[in-house]
Amino acid sequence: MASISARRLAKELREIEGEGCPVGINLIKADDFATWWFTIEVMGDSLYQGEVHTLQFRFDPQYPISSPAVQFLVTDGRTAPVHPHVYSNGHICASILGNEWSPVLSVVAVCVTLQSMLASCKKKERPVDNDRYVRNAPDNPKKVCRFSDY
């Protein structure tokens, strides 16, 4: 019997492939049930017009009980958007990725939330503690991100 995690991700993948992603979000890699990549782009008027960023999802076998580890990729020329909740190493400070995660959320829901987080941004700046955080950041971005609105 497939694990709950694999069944759930298979279902999400089927829906993405069947119905497509929301506007501005594109699946670019989902070879397994461990790591998926999406490109994300803010549509309409925003500070991020024309920018395309890559989001990485990493799932553990407890998904969706445990949240996916989500971050922007900053390798191979990709960059993290400059945003008060996004560290320059790609880690994202968003409460739904941490303590406010719920198994009702899905990969697409997280993408849409992050898209709207960027869309509503008023000022492009790094988190105030960016340098400090990036110097000592854990590999797993799930360990941060407790206090944001998203």
């Binding site: 019997m1 069944r7 009702v104 206090f147 609105d149």
Partner: protein
């Protein structure tokens, strides 16, 4: 600088200022009364202070040690009926003696002493061994006495031990002071316990605190709550067969590989889930995944509390009786934690100092409040909201 009016020097905080005349001169920055007018260049008080700092060995104790011992003493006062004796000086060796009153009488713990001064390896425990028969060694003290009263008004053995261990740990400031004085012994990593001496070490501490902060971690549902949830075994014609489980996003159905998937658990908020889908979630967070209904009180979070007994306005302030159970605060026994626990876990004869420290401990949590409250009432990002949009 004005030539007309010479500045004053404060021997307590070492600042140069113009004193407040109230009516005797007191330091404008620390309000200390040990101030001196700098009118005679031949007798500059700053030089006195300077040389004093440069030669900490001159009068036996590094200058900071006095302060440290004083603050240590005031920290210990709550649990110790008799104020600790500090600095029984024998020759040049600083030494401390604590008297700790437990359920089983009074115990004495000695720190430092002559023969440990130049031997850092002995400083980790620092008790004077063998030669004082009546005084227990540190390890003896650490051993929990089975006869010891559990709820005495003083700091009990294990707690006291934890506190002292934090103080006496490998990197603690006390042994560093004993070992090398202030000048020689700064550790390479810039840390001595919870004390830091450079930016990198501070970063590490802050990161560590952030990672270990459990204040916002969800509180799991208890076994009892889980056991008492209503369960329904699906049968032909169940109304439930029309509905979905929000965790696996599958419709409830009769033919399943796992017979447990024919058991539906409905939370008090009426949201139904497969038994194997919801149980692992409840064991990590006692909330409804759909609407965040709290089966057990949760730390403050963004979502509107949906418990039937709570109103949306006042429930952010948990009533004193329904405070979420504090999780284990982590097993890293830093000085900060030990002191905090000493205050919060000690007797209830709180002093104003103790209250202050406790509040500091909670400050971390209240720091995170502003972003929360700013969107109190907006639930556009709640899981329930998204699923409605997406499904």
């Amino acid at each position: 600088m004005s030539d007309r009016e010479p500045l004053w020097f404060c021997h307590e905080c070492h600042s140069e200022m113009r004193p407040l005349m109230a009516p005797d001169p007191v330091c404008a920055s620390c309000h200390g009364s040990f101030v001196e007018k700098m009118e005679n260049p031949a007798d500059d008080p700053r030089e006195f202070a300077h040389t004093h700092n440069e030669d900490p060995e001159r009068d036996g104790l590094p200058p900071a040690l006095d302060t440290f011992l004083m603050s240590l003493q005031s920290l210990m006062e709550r649990g110790i009926a008799q104020a600790p004796r500090t600095q029984n000086e024998t020759g040049s060796a600083p030494r401390m003696t604590f008297e700790v009153r437990g359920g089983n009488g009074t115990r004495v713990v000695r720190l430092g002493g002559t023969n440990t001064l130049n031997n850092p390896s002995l400083n980790t425990v620092g008790a004077e061994p063998a030669n004082i028969g009546a005084v227990p060694t540190m390890s003896e003290f650490l051993r929990r006495n089975p006869n010891e009263g559990q709820n005495g008004p003083t700091i009990t053995g294990p707690l006291m031990a934890q506190y002292l261990m934090a103080l006496l740990g490998q990197n603690d400031p006390l042994s560093a002071l004993f070992a090398g004085g202030l000048g020689g012994g700064l550790p390479e990593n810039g840390r001595m316990g919870d004390y830091v001496f450079n930016q990198e070490a501070l970063d590490q501490i802050i990161t560590q605190l952030m990672e270990n902060s459990n204040a916002h971690r969800p509180v799991p549902a208890t076994e009892e709550i889980i056991a008492n949830l209503p369960r329904e075994v699906l049968v032909e014609g169940s109304a439930m067969l029309e509905k979905d489980c929000a965790v696996c996003k599958e419709q409830f159905k009769l033919e399943t590989e796992d017979p447990d998937e024919q058991i539906v658990i409905t939370l008090p908020c009426k949201h139904p889930f497969h038994d194997p889908c919801i149980l692992p979630w409840l064991k990590s967070s006692g909330t409804c995944p759909v609407c965040r209904y709290q089966l057990v009180p949760q730390p403050e979070h963004h979502g509107p509390p949906t418990g039937p007994t709570q109103d949306s306005g006042g429930s952010r302030q948990a009533s004193p009786g329904s405070n979420p159970p504090q999780r284990d605060r982590g097993d890293h026994g830093g000085l900060f934690h030990a002191i905090l626990q000493g205050f919060t876990g000690g007797s209830n004869t709180g002093t104003s100092r103790a209250t202050g420290a406790t509040n500091n401990g909670r400050h971390q949590r209240s720091n995170s409040d502003p972003p929360h409250s700013s969107r109190n009432g907006s639930n556009s990002n709640l899981p329930g909201g998204w699923t409605e949009d997406l499904d």
